[in-house]
Symmetry: C2
DNA sequence: TATATTTGCAACCGAACAGTTGCTTATTTA
DNA sequence: TAAATAAGCAACTGTTCGGTTGCAAATATA
């Protein structure tokens, strides 16, 4: 049972749940109402998100409010770091080309 | 056959391939040598990465050099954008708490 | 031209995934 | 206390995934 953050955000429904929760903490029932799937299907997704700590729970009587944990999401951002300078430098290269064209037309 | 960029980076082997290719364009054989799996297994991963345009190919005779396409990776970064202000503001909140403690001890 | 090398494609296999249905537990409310 | 509500757990199902093996196509080399 592979359970890392990259696998967690691979599923479109789970990404949608994260976007929802990020705006406001919600109960499983309230979340499930936003999707065509059954409550149990959504509950499974929530379980996976909670297992890799993208969600945290807060119990209120028989209701459980799930809220988004942004610090965990930073791991994705951290992984992207190794590529970020590449797409930035590609822009720099484009800038250089544009500058060369400019200097030629002058 | 779901084939989006999030699903592409969900697999650890594919993430490793991307990190490799990002440093330098490589042929499938050269990539496969870096992994314990068979050439065909790696070739499948490459196919998936190429299908969602994270890799671009450059044919040289019978050899194919695959190179990383950083602009496509930006889509992940773009999706993260909706959460980025959250982990930044959480730091801000932490700063506020620390400042309050500081001001009390003064 | 015959042989070796590089690559891609197809078929198959076991494991994991996403979903459903049915049931139990715990808390709230009438 | 009895009924209703919220949530989690277990078993089952069809599909996808990651891997393997075997083979064909294209290019390079002897």
């Amino acid at each position: 049972m592979r359970r890392d953050i990259f696998q967690a955000i691979a599923d479109p429904t789970r990404r949608a749940i994260l976007s929802l929760i990020a705006l406001q903490a919600m109960t499983p029932n309230a979340i499930a109402e936003q999707f065509p799937s059954s409550r149990q299907a959504i509950s499974k997704h929530i379980k996976i998100l909670a297992e890799c700590q993208l969600l945290e729970q807060q119990q209120h009587g028989r209701e459980i409010y799930y809220q988004f944990n942004p610090t965990k999401m930073k791991e994705i951002d951290k992984w992207l770091e190794q590529f970020r300078n590449m797409w930035e430098s590609r822009y720099n290269n484009l800038d250089n080309v544009l500058n060369q064209i400019k200097s030629k037309t002058k």
